[in-house]
Symmetry: C2
Subunit: 392 residues, 2 copies
């Protein structure tokens, strides 16, 4: 199976490329290194040092014997995108190559527009390139659970049967995304769904929960194969941040009451979900949606798991929530389709958290504590100067 991984230098793109290479896919990689430039812009970096792509690829060749082709370029450049697909001729394309931080998209107007244009245009160019080069290529696209918001009904996998005034239809699940980033993924989903219907493309949209963890079996083989471990307030995710705060002896910072609930997934399960989606493709014309989460937990409960499992004293601080979201809400996510394909989930267990604590301890001297403070306010993004002196 020829598998092209877009965004292959990123937190999940890199481990996915290695995992698929390891299980025997012929893997191609693509990236424009924009994620590394965001680090420079924000003045932050991965806790775990990451190596340049050529070092990463040389290490993988040394360990696995496999040379993986790498395409450096930007999906918003349509001629690059077409030429790459024409050259690599994939059976499946795994598309991680988007700006993926909600707070980054909420910094200000420029960042909101950048996020939506970068993500939507890159994805549109990809759809046109697939239709042009080979409409049978299966697109595996990374979406987010944040597309759904927090409806007061169960969150189905992409589609819902609605009965209304005595009639019925199966319709796209209504979306109430919570940031300009989450909105960009909703826009992508609608665009992809349309090309499946009209051009007969085949696609799997993976609405992924919040990913935690720092390593997969392959990235753990050699320091040069390590993937990013983000803990800053813009690109980090909360479980990783809690782990760092516990190790440093700082209070865990929970936004608001912590009653807001999230779908979670272990990084090792993420790469396995991608494999399952690739190896069990959607039918021609099918727009298939999987909810890529393994459990749901309130932010406060996740903090409590860290407090209970860390072998030292842990305090929890409740700070103002910079996001606009309900403090408490119904949240029940249906996620059976990947399990039906064979996923065996890791849950947020002691053993895993201990392995994260170990990684953090090793690199504790690299932590920039200031980078963990929330720096982007959902309410103030529209007018940072005027509203800065007003209550939120």
């Amino acid at each position: 199976m020829r598998t092209l991984v877009l965004g292959a230098d990123g937190f999940l793109g890199w481990p996915t490329a290695l995992h698929l290479s390891d299980v025997g896919h012929e893997v191609g990689l693509c990236d424009n290194f924009l994620r590394r430039r965001y680090d420079e812009e924000l003045g932050v970096e991965s806790l775990v040092p990451i190596h340049p792509m050529d070092v990463r690829l040389a290490a993988w060749k040394e360990i696995s014997g496999k040379s993986l082709p790498f395409y450096e370029g930007d999906l918003t450049d349509a001629s690059f995108t077409n030429a790459m697909i024409e050259d690599f001729r994939p059976d499946v394309i795994v598309h991680f190559a988007e700006q993926r931080s909600a707070p980054y998209s909420m910094i200000d107007r420029e960042h909101a527009v950048h996020t939506q244009v970068n993500n939507v245009v890159g994805n549109l160019n990809l759809l046109y390139a697939i239709a042009d080069v080979d409409p049978s290529i299966h697109l595996v696209k990374l979406g987010t659970m944040g597309e759904y918001g927090t409806p007061n009904i169960d969150i189905e996998e992409g589609w819902i049967e609605i009965e209304h005034k005595g009639r019925k239809d199966v319709l796209p699940f209504p979306k109430q995304p919570g940031s300009f980033y989450h909105l960009s993924k909703v826009h992508d989903s609608h665009n992809i769904m349309f090309t499946c219907r009209v051009w007969g493309l085949r696609a799997t949209d993976l609405n992924q929960g919040v990913v935690y963890g720092h390593a997969t079996r392959q990235t753990a083989l050699d320091d040069r194969l390590a993937t990013r471990f983000d803990y800053d307030a813009v690109f980090g995710t909360f479980v990783n941040r809690f782990a760092i705060q516990a190790v440093l002896g700082h209070p865990l910072t929970v936004y608001g009451t912590g009653g807001q609930t999230r779908g979670l997934i272990d990084i090792r399960d993420t790469v396995e979900c991608i494999r399952l989606a690739c190896e069990n493709p959607a039918e021609p014309g099918e727009f298939r949606v999987f909810n890529q989460v393994t459990e749901s937990l309130s932010v406060a409960d996740a903090a409590k798991v860290v407090a209970q499992t860390y072998p030292g004293p842990v305090e929890i601080d409740y700070v103002d929530n910079p996001r606009v979201e309900l403090p408490e809400h119904y949240y029940r996510v249906i996620h059976t389709k990947l399990v039906d394909l064979g996923l065996e989930p890791h849950l947020l267990s002691e053993s895993l958290l201990h392995s994260i604590y170990g990684a953090v301890e090793r690199y504790a001297d690299r932590v920039d504590v200031a980078a963990m403070r929330p720096s982007v306010d959902w309410r103030r993004t529209a007018n940072p100067t005027r509203q800065a002196t007003e209550p939120a």
Copy 2:
């Protein structure tokens, strides 16, 4: 009431500006004249000659005594957008300023990307400018009935109460748009809904049906006040095209079986709907949706109305449908909110069609028959060269 009309040089923007000025609003106008450039690109023009903006404004001053300020610029230029709103200080902004043709968006990749970037970025800049200058400004945004597609249940006005597994919520009505243009409007709706929720903006999204007609009370006052009358296959709408075909003695070209049903609205009702939305604003934080249609008719039935009302022989030709859509489908649109505000609809009646026939007869020598043939195929847009020789 200070009302800023964006896209005020267009088919509906111009009559709306005049109608609101006539009823006493202090109206400002904005346009970048992109619509006139699309005509140049496609080699087509309005059947009814239209005058430059300065001539239009001078004529309106002569007739009404009112000088309307005009802002020439592009919403995708954020500093222009902010400066205009800061300068005019509207109570309400009526936003028509988008690429509005489905076939134009389906010409090829460049036109799809242009449509989505132009529409989404212009609208995002507008939302940021409103939040920055004055969040109490009411946004009246033109959407389209084509955002909904053709679900097998009644199409409610933007929101639907869903009961699912014993729980209930009122959620955004699921969208299944039928072109990259319709998709851009869905993206806009999601972005606007988000800013209402998070920033407390107030907005009315008008999901408009297919507009027919050529004049309003104000545009009919003087030839210099005429608005566009598009009949070409890219920017024209089907009722206007049928009227021209009847007058020329050509067969009316119905796509497919003509069983596909559309929501329709008379141009005189459109401008009145906009007035009603402006004068009865949404509440702060409210994202309100009105279905701006007055009746639903299959394309074949609309052709029959023309055949019956035109005082001469009329043939109907059924041609291949260049769009991908169901030939026959359930279609029932709820549209009570504007009627509740006082709308008194004109229906597709003899008297109106006769007035359209009169306008067409006057300008019959300007008709470019070739421009009416469908030139954009939904299936072929992704790969014009390869698929041109294959069956659709």
